[in-house]
Symmetry: C2
Subunit: 198 residues, 2 copies
Amino acid sequence: MYEGIVQDLIDELGRLPGVGPKGAQRIAFHLLQADPVDVRRLADVLVEVKARVKFCSVCFNVSEADLCRICADPRRDQTVLCVVEEYKDVVAIERTREFRGRYHVLGGAISPIEGIGPEQLHIRELMTRLADSQLTEVILATDPNLEGEATATYLTRMLKPLEIRVTRLASGLPVGGDLEYADEVTLGRAFAGRRSAE
Amino acid sequence: MYEGIVQDLIDELGRLPGVGPKGAQRIAFHLLQADPVDVRRLADVLVEVKARVKFCSVCFNVSEADLCRICADPRRDQTVLCVVEEYKDVVAIERTREFRGRYHVLGGAISPIEGIGPEQLHIRELMTRLADSQLTEVILATDPNLEGEATATYLTRMLKPLEIRVTRLASGLPVGGDLEYADEVTLGRAFAGRRSAE
């Protein structure tokens, strides 16, 4: 075992996703030898990110204010709404510059295995948003995997009575992957070629 | 790009060894959704480790006091000294329970490629330590790779005039690897079978 506090650091680092025990050790030793100023900056940004980052009260995107930058921007098209699973999907889609509407971040996808049902996602808030708005189209941009497809199918059924046009991203996204890993061109084309949801 | 502070966090995490840009993103999103108490604890341990962890003034082992636990322990054999590259090597050797002497941590190995020469390591302090002591044996336990071998060869030459017994760990350690990754049994046997340095 290592000196008390060093072991504490290794334990804390080992809890991070994708960091195994050896990786945690490697990072810890790096930090032991690093400039204290650099380590302090990392510690500060950790505290600050939790203090400052909130979620947009309208779309649940990550935001430092009550309204995120996209919801607060009057130039964004109020008639098209893009429904995504996570904040990182918003960033990926913004990067394509193909979409000028607004977003709704579900906070995940329906996954019976992980015990995530529709009530754990921001679907109720989506329905409220759709009830009184000038929306003419809802784009379901969930991940092209099992959970994403299930979520899109569920939402398609929920949205049917509202008689709004509901579309899905064009196939062209590699199936079985995560939306965020698609390159800009592929994701941009998938946007341009979006189809009506059955 | 992400919201300012989120991008700052991704940038900071991306500087850690073994964490690529995607890994940094993944950790950042995990932290965004994590319990603030957990994130705070990680930040605190980072600050604390830099504040509390120092290096032993005698052997340069990691220590929370001026003298590390091993140097401060009167039960440790004062006649045998084990020279290692890094703190993690001390921990690996302690785990074998084969060695009851004391250590000297060089702080790395000679590596012309990385611009590390003997003067960047704690070799001068080692020579001072050897000058006035009851030492009868110095074990050179550097890593069994190019840099470790070069360092051991250099030290062997330096120690020759002192007429102290200088030994190397037995072969048995996998060549080309890092000492710290050897399992306890292998490392313990390498200790038991140590040979005289040429």
